[in-house]
Symmetry: C2
Subunit: 385 residues, 2 copies
Amino acid sequence: MPEVIPPDSVGIVTPQVAQFDIPLTLECGKQLNSFQLMYETYGELNADRSNAVLICHALSGHHHAAGYHSMEDSKPGWWDSCIGPGKPIDTNKFFVVSLNNLGGCAGSTGPASINPETGNAYGPDFPVVTVQDWVRSQAMLADRLNIPHWAAVIGGSLGGMQALQWSIEYPERVHNAAVIASTPRLSAQNIAFNEVARKAITSDPNFHEGRYGEHTTYPDKGLMLARMVGHITYLSNASMGEKFGRDLRAQTLKFGLLDVQFEVESYLHYQGERFSKNFDANTYLLMTRALDYFDPARAHEGDLSKALEPAKCKYLVVSFTTDWRFPPDRSEELVNAMVEAKKSVSYAEVDSPHGHDAFLIPTQRYMDVFHGFMGRVAKEIPHAR
Amino acid sequence: MPEVIPPDSVGIVTPQVAQFDIPLTLECGKQLNSFQLMYETYGELNADRSNAVLICHALSGHHHAAGYHSMEDSKPGWWDSCIGPGKPIDTNKFFVVSLNNLGGCAGSTGPASINPETGNAYGPDFPVVTVQDWVRSQAMLADRLNIPHWAAVIGGSLGGMQALQWSIEYPERVHNAAVIASTPRLSAQNIAFNEVARKAITSDPNFHEGRYGEHTTYPDKGLMLARMVGHITYLSNASMGEKFGRDLRAQTLKFGLLDVQFEVESYLHYQGERFSKNFDANTYLLMTRALDYFDPARAHEGDLSKALEPAKCKYLVVSFTTDWRFPPDRSEELVNAMVEAKKSVSYAEVDSPHGHDAFLIPTQRYMDVFHGFMGRVAKEIPHAR
């Protein structure tokens, strides 16, 4: 817990709920008659409502991106390193909005929420949501907050996909978009890892085809496995090697089949177990499907530059050298399509040992690039303070 | 099934069993009072017993490396592409021995075998076996077959570790060693993937701490998951992309959470399911532990070149460009230590799109390198025909 709030923190923040009783038709064809979105804001909206920045979260993220909920919090929000006074997403200049996506499990309507039409939790009946659905629901939140356009939409990983989709879907409402450690579509290997995670969850006998709530069980073992395999893909080979190497928990090999012997095993168990206690299994399935499905080029015979045609924003694309989940060549694919579509784009491949997780870690060159881009965004704002 | 046996096949082969009633003390300190090894041989041992070649198998391999067991077989042995008349391991020149390792589930004594002391299957009580234990048991098989030394010991992946260990453990008995797509020790990432596989098996409620035999259950779902995650690491990102890309099984997205939608998902399910029907879960645990534990440098404060000091053989080391399980730099680590220890070593980094599985696939340059090396091995044999 913070003894004092650090000066570059947004401080104590309070999540808010936006309730929507307007039907939202989803890409799958189904309709949600009402839903709520949990969100937080940092900084102040300026008089002409031109300094708003939207933060889009990744697979296991949520609305709590910066600051603390109370002085008892052991850790700040998940992107606190990048959001705050003087940080790249500078809350002295920007009004920052961060939400939990539809289908999530941190307060927004999702599989664990009560379906008002049945009185029971949606569970597996919650409709499949896509990146496009998220962007549309985020636009409804922008309307609610009276934000006509975003100075920037920013996201890493799955969040980067949302930033990209915003730029295509609402070209007039996005002035800048930052697509960090992301990809214009998943590779077969990406989908394969997601499918292992899903299969781990659905194979857990406590899953009950997603109706674990009704059975008062929980597929925690499956979710733990899903997170373990996911976690390996977030780290680089090098960073795992540096962090754990072949270090043993005891001094010598135990020669037991079921013993935890290497530090890296113990670490993975810890990560998996902690996650499985705090995340909804059906939401995990939804989020991985949203990743799999995202492919803006699909409607254009695979031509990504054509898909990007409507966009009017300036882009920042950032990749990290040791990210093998969404490696630099996936970002380059995106940048090349942007160039072909004659869009304005800055691209940085940042040297980092941290794998995919690098987008969460404030290394020097990454922060320099991010500061530079957001500085230019701030200068465009007519009445920036 | 073959309508006719191809001319470069070793033809119909019959597995044999070697029964050992001599106690074998294992690296873990436990003792096996008796055990059997299932093996096959191809080609003929020459008069001075100087043309024998040992094939060591990988994680899920077995003794059936080449030829057919009957005309009904749909496929030949697992390394048929490399073993046979005129092939790199030329059965016109060499007497080839291939066995199922101790702890395996293809006929050699392992967890599924009956423990003569209890009358029940060993199950999880089967002792943990290591690469060193395998090499020692293989030496007992060599004694039984009256093979004083191997013209070559050859293996890919975990098999390469055995070839390396042979060269250190029995320097006088190994004239050449081929270490293909292997590593002198697993990385943290390698161990992490193995641990996900083990956790998938042990989390399956049908596992019963390894006593699924007594419960007449089988942890097939866990084993399926283990194989799925393993399989991803055997293929390259590129080969998965080429084979499956983002191809859908149906024409359109189904927007179902539990549907199999992408071809790559269906392929992984098939591979996982097929494997889970044919492999013993306790053996899978044993084999992955043997991989984790292998580290000949451990006894020499991490100095691999010192570990290699006793070796007297000539080495061939082969790596494959897209193998990300045991990438070329792990082979280079080994080659550098061999050079430092002043050993004779040939090294080839072979350009291949097939990932780790490349060691099983007879691509041109790989076969050229393999033919070249084995040709030199044949020339060293005093009375080679």
